[in-house]
């Protein structure tokens, strides 16, 4: 006996399914349209609220700016005061140790038989000085003192002694150069 494998609905049933499907789609359309309307209304509402808020904020900011401009004088004074203090701090912190270098050198010279002929402390923190000593050993002893003195060691580095030469007056001239520690 043949088996009926046609599972399709009858023509009546087919019509009913179509009507049902159409109704479902119409409902879906209405929902989509309503959602769209809500969305558009929401966007317009948000735009409106934000626009009003912007107008309000602008007015508040303008009023505050006017008030701040009323204190222009004080504003300028505070700004220049701070700027000058910042500049002074920067300038003062760039202490090139001239005073300390001179002090140490002066101390070393006064405790020896050496006399200073010339001295130069340059911008790039280099000390060079020429001096005269009664004997060559006094000159080399001074150089040793310059290198070994505790205070001198703290401030000067890379000390070098140039050749000791005898002068016409019987003294010995020499020059020492060193860098000032930062």
């Amino acid at each position: 006996m043949p088996i009926d494998i046609n599972l399709l609905p009858t023509s009546y049933n087919l019509q009913e399914v179509r009507v049902k499907k159409n109704k479902q789609l119409e409902r879906l359309s209405i929902i989509a349209l309503s959602l769209m309307i809500f969305l558009v209304a929401g966007v317009f509402l948000a735009w409106n609220i934000q626009s009003r808020r912007l107008v309000q904020i602008k007015a508040e900011v303008e009023s505050l700016e006017e008030q701040v401009n009323g204190y222009k004088d004080i504003d300028g004074k505070v700004q220049i005061l701070k700027a000058k203090l910042t500049s002074i701090t920067t300038i003062v912190n760039r202490d090139p140790k001239f005073e300390t270098s001179l002090g140490i050198l002066s101390g070393l010279l006064s405790s020896s038989q050496v006399f200073l002929d010339d001295l130069s402390i340059s911008e790039n923190q280099k000390v060079t000085f020429g001096a005269s000593a009664p004997t060559s050993s006094e000159a080399s002893m001074f150089f040793d003192l310059f290198k070994s003195d505790s205070q001198s060691k703290q401030i000067f580095a890379d000390a070098t002694l140039d050749a000791i030469t005898g002068a016409k007056d019987g003294s010995y001239k020499f020059s020492i150069s060193a860098s000032i520690k930062k």
Partner: protein, 239 residues
């Protein structure tokens, strides 16, 4: 015949047709009205947020300004103290008098004072600009100890001066007195030509700043040497 076929098709696929039309309408509304308005609303929101931040900054600045205005004389005094150390302009006259005065107090004689043309940044247009510099090269005569004293006095002189270098030559003819050439740098900083945006925060004066003002106020002012009497003459071309 044709119309009845269309009617039949419409009845059969009415749901799909309506849904298609709704989708088209939604797309048109979204594209033409909603998206531009949404983008506008977002940019307005951004502007509102910026405005709110500006408002907060202005309110805070206004509070600080109102605080300073309660006693403006304190601010004026601080400014006056700082101005003595770092004036608004070069004030060369006062500077030279000051150097001479410093030399006198250190038992040195200023043999020559020369202005170097190395003026850097003569006008700072904003407060963030660097201080301008005036270089003065001075030749002194005196002992090393006196030069040392001068250097230490410069460090506590009211007008900020820095030394560029020191060079000295001992002169046996002058009994051990050395002639030294010292290039000095004096500083100045002009007032800002504009204050910038009103909402720009007011710079804070830290405790270190207040300490610095206090320290500066204890420094000695060297501006003039004794009493200067200028008599003048009627004809500038006749001796």
């Amino acid at each position: 015949m044709f119309i009845s076929q269309i009617n039949l098709l419409y009845r059969q696929y009415r749901g799909y047709i309506v849904l298609f039309l709704v989708v088209v309408v939604c797309l048109v509304i979204g594209w033409l009205f909603m998206l531009p308005k949404l983008s506008e609303a977002l940019s307005i929101q951004e502007a509102v947020s910026d405005g709110q931040q500006r408002k907060i900054a202005l309110e805070s600045k206004l509070k600080e300004l109102a605080f300073y205005s309660q006693d403006e004389s304190i601010l004026d005094e601080k400014l006056r103290q700082v101005d003595l150390s770092l004036p608004y302009d070069k004030q060369v006259g006062g500077l030279i008098f000051g150097i001479e005065s410093l030399a006198q107090e250190s038992s040195l004689s200023a043999k020559a004072i020369q202005m170097a043309p190395g003026v850097i940044n003569p006008l700072s247009k904003s407060t963030t600009g660097k201080a301008g510099q005036v270089e003065v090269q001075v030749t002194f005569e005196g002992s090393i100890a006196d030069i040392q004293l001068l250097v230490s006095k410069i460090k506590s002189a009211r007008r900020i001066l820095t030394l560029k270098s020191i060079s000295l030559v001992a002169n046996s003819k002058t009994g051990g007195l050395a002639e030294s050439t010292i290039p000095m740098i004096a500083y100045f900083q002009s007032a800002p030509s504009n204050l910038g945006d009103a909402a720009m925060p007011l710079p804070k004066l830290s405790s270190q700043d207040l300490d610095l003002i206090d320290t500066l106020s204890r420094f000695k002012v060297y501006t003039s040497v004794g009493q200067i009497n200028i008599s003048g003459k009627a004809n500038p071309f006749v001796k």
